[in-house]
Structures are given as structure tokens and as C-alpha cells.
């Protein structure tokens, strides 16, 4: 079972601010879904290999050559928060 503290912790890991009231709501809804997920425990899988994706492709390489990419001003065009050709964000800590 997921606790209030767990919800606060995963909210921090996922960088999603969660209010006191929301913590309780999330706890209830998440526990109901996790309860459903618990049914997988009844299935023995000790010797089963996990499948990350089904395409039988492993390493995909390309030649290491310089190609045209988007111009800097185009990349910066979707934000107002920029300075000297870079994205501007508040200080980290």
C-alpha cells in the first residue's frame, strides 16, 4: 500500500507539486490501481526473459557525419524565456 509519504516522495521525484488535499486523493486512486496490478504476483515468472520491445533490432548506427540541424533562433522561438542565444531558467537550488 502506498502511503501519504510515498505520494509526497514520488511527487518530488516526478517534479509535480501536490497539495495536502491532493495527496489523500492520489493515495486512494493510486492504491486502487496498484491493488489491480497486484494480480501479476500470482503468475510465476522466475525464468521468463523480460521483453522491453518486440522489434528484433538491437544497435542502430549511422555514419558519424555532420548534418544540417535546426537554426538556433528556430529552436528558441517557442519560449519568451531566453537570453544571449540560450534558454533562461531560475537558479537551480
Amino acid at each position: 500500500m502506498i502511503t501519504k509519504e510515498d505520494v509526497e516522495h514520488i511527487g518530488w521525484l516526478a517534479r509535480i507539486e501536490i497539495s495536502e488535499q491532493e495527496t489523500v486523493e492520489y493515495m486512494e486512486k493510486l492504491n486502487s490501481v496498484l491493488g489491480y496490478f497486484g494480480q501479476l504476483d500470482e503468475l510465476p515468472t522466475k525464468d521468463v526473459t523480460p521483453t522491453y520491445h518486440v522489434a528484433e533490432i538491437y544497435n542502430v548506427f549511422r555514419d558519424d557525419v555532420v548534418e544540417e540541424c535546426l537554426p538556433q533562433e528556430v529552436v528558441l522561438a517557442n519560449t519568451e524565456h531566453k537570453q544571449d542565444g540560450a534558454f533562461r531558467v531560475p537558479k537551480i537550488g
Binding site: 514520488i10 516526478a14 509535480i16 501479476l40 523480460p50 520491445h53 518486440v54 519560449t79 534558454f87 531558467v89
Partner: protein
Amino acid sequence: MAKWMSVAQVKEKIEENSAEEVTAQYLEAIGKSKINGYITVSEKALEQAKKIDAEGHNGPLAGIPIAIKDNISVVGLPNSCGSKILEGYIPPFNAHVIEKLLAAGAVILGKTNMDEFAMGSSTETSYFGPTANPWDLERVPGGSSGGSAAVVAAGEAPFALGSDTGGSVRCPAAFCGVVGLKPTYGSVSRYGVVAYANSLEQVGPLANNVTDIAVLMDVIAGYDRKDSTSIDSKIEYQKALVEDVKGLKIGVPKEFFGEGIHPDVEKAVWNAIHKCEDLGASWEEVSMPHIKYALASYYIIAMSEASSNLARFDGTRYGYRANGENWHAMVSKTRADGFGTEVKRRILLGTYALSAGYHDKYYLKALKVRTLVKQDFDRALSKVDVLMAPTMPNPAFKIGEKIEDPLTLYLSDVNTCPINLAGVPSLSVPCGFTDGLPIGLQIMGKPFDEPAVLRAAYTFEQNTDYHTKRPSEVA
């Protein structure tokens, strides 16, 4: 102009009149819409059509209008993913499938409504409000590509692109009475499609008939070096449109007819299987014992991948940004305000499933169950050519009916999500009605055996009239 036209009929109209006139008529239908199927209507559609007229209709889709789900990037049109967090974002590049469509001469009508970040089966979680089902405006169109399916069903586009992570093309196709295909994993490039759960999803076409699905697949499928999971299958989809199922072996997995299935859905699907038998196919029951675990496995994997994929939405480079005294606070507030409840729930659950101490219990376990589900498909499809089952266990439900309880909504994906775990192709084709609401027959095949799926669907369609019925609500 008839409201509902096949691509071949649209082509005739273009030759008789012009691409500009045909586009103008679709734009007029969109202007009178009762369903909220589009988030953005392209202001450049007419201009694009005029250009195609001037150039003399070159290309397989010259002048044919198309609607695009709002998670597929088109230069110059907002790409909201049905979310507030992408407010104001305009992609500076086209998705690979859009490049292919434009090269074929298609005219992009606009971007269609969807569950936020494709997370849902009802199109109710969109920041832009729900889309209505053209067959009953009080009901959901299914999701997450609900806008794409609904605009095709309502005659507001001849066909559309959606994306299918756990049923997001097939569910709305079934609910809206149109045809929808989830291609084999790797056949259509995901470059420029906003990722939700990238090991599961594929772009897929929605149309009024099976032929138009094949027409669209011939344009969008193929190798793309910008998608590292791209595979060149070299399939010629339109060549698979053969009206003949003699000798075709159909498997009927009994696990897809589980508890809670609507009796009319069960009846309609069996009628369809018997119809194929009358036309020369044979059928046998097959067992897929791990299907009952597929839903839990699917949701754990999808949420885990989502928690990683959606980390990029942090207010730094595009979209909505909240104020915060430092970077962590800015990002946490941006994501709290910018994402809707269901998206936050899935990110939180995915984060939990991947976090220290729980990774093996949830994520790794789900990946192992995925192997067992895939083996069920391999085994079943080694004996038969295609599998047939209901796409959705029930017809479209009322708007608001299931939105409060996430688990209830998740359970409606029970017959569609196993396919994404296995990566096989699957198509939904109309096969009946219950109380005026469409029912979808799901036809699944071996990896890259879309030809068998299309052949079965095309033959069924040519010998029934379900696909010719139109919703009176929007007529």
C-alpha cells in the same frame, strides 16, 4: 457534394471541380460541426489545395484532405497533445508521416482532439473539452484518437491519422463505426510523434472503409532512419485488398469474450465470424491463457515509459511555464498546473513502478508478463492466419460515466492493449449495431502480415453493409 466520400470519390470530385473546392467544402462542414473534433483548423488548407491545383494533381493523394491527431507534429500548426502544458507550442519540424503525406499531395485540414497525451479511452481528458460521438452526442467517441475517428464518422474529413498505444485507434474506430488499423510495431515511423509509451505505440490510419486504410498505409509506412525501431516491411497494402477468404484460418480467442461483454457485441462478432465461414474461411477456438494479465502488464509498462517520456515537459524550452523561486519549484509548479489529473496519476504511478525497491515488483514483472502474452500470440498465430474478437467489450458509454474512477476506464482497454504488448497488427471494422451504436470487429494478424488482416477485413466489408451506415445526429 456527398458528406461521406471514399478517397476514390474525393479524387473524382477533385478532377471534376478542384482540390480547392473540395477542401472548402470540408472546411464548411467543420465550421458547422456539433462534435468538437478539431482542436485547430489549418488556415493554410485552402492555400495548400490551390497550390496543388496549380501544380496539376501529382501524387497518390493529390488534393485529398486529411485530419491529423494533435500529437503528430506539423510545421506551423500547434501540437497541443490535448494539454495545457504545450500552450503556444508550434513544432519547427514535420513528423516523418507528415513529410510523406505532403509529398503525396495531401491537404492537412487540421489537428484533432485527443485524450491528454493520448492517455485515455474517451477523449474526455483533453484540455480542450470532450469530443462527442456522432452517433449519440451524449456519448464519448472513444479514445485517445477520439477526434480523428469522430471527424471521419461525421464527414468532416475523408480519413485521418491517429496513434495507438493500447487501443487508441481501434477503440474510437469501434465506437464511431469507422475502420482503424494499428500497424505492426516498426512499420510506421514515430519520428515527430510525441511519445507516451514508445515501446507500444504506432501511428495508424482511420477511414470510412478498408480500401482507404490501405491507400493511407501505402503512403505512410516504410523505413525512416530517424526512428531507431523502424523496419522496412516492403508491404504493398493495396495489393492485399482481395475479396476472397477461401482457405483463411480464423482463430477465436475465448479470453476476448470475457465477463462483462455486452451480449449484442458478442452476437455481432460471432455473426461476423460465421459470415467469413460462409464466404469460405474456417474457424477454431484458440486459448491465450495470459491475456487476463495483459491489462495490468500494459498499464505498468505504459505508465513507466510515460514517466520518463513526459519528463521533457518542464517549462524550460516551450509551452506553459509557472513562476517559481528556483528551478525545482518552477518545474514542479509548471507540471502541477500544466498537466491534467489523469496524466499526473500515470506519471506518479510510473515513477513509483520504476523507483528503488519497486522496480522488480512492478516494472520488471510487467516486462516478463509481456513475454508470456507475446508467446500466447505466437502460439495462437502459428495455427491460424488471423484472430477475430470484439474490439471493445461494450458500445460507447456516456460522457462523464467512467471518468471519476480510473480503474473502470482502464478495464475498457482489455481487448485492445494485449495487441500492443505483442506488437502485432490489428484492425477494427464495423460489424453491427446495438441501440443505434456501432460495434467493432477486431482482426489481428502475425507481425507484418497486414495483408491477411486487410484481406479478411476487405472481404467481410464487401459482403456486409455496416460500413455504409451513417450517423443521423450529424447528417
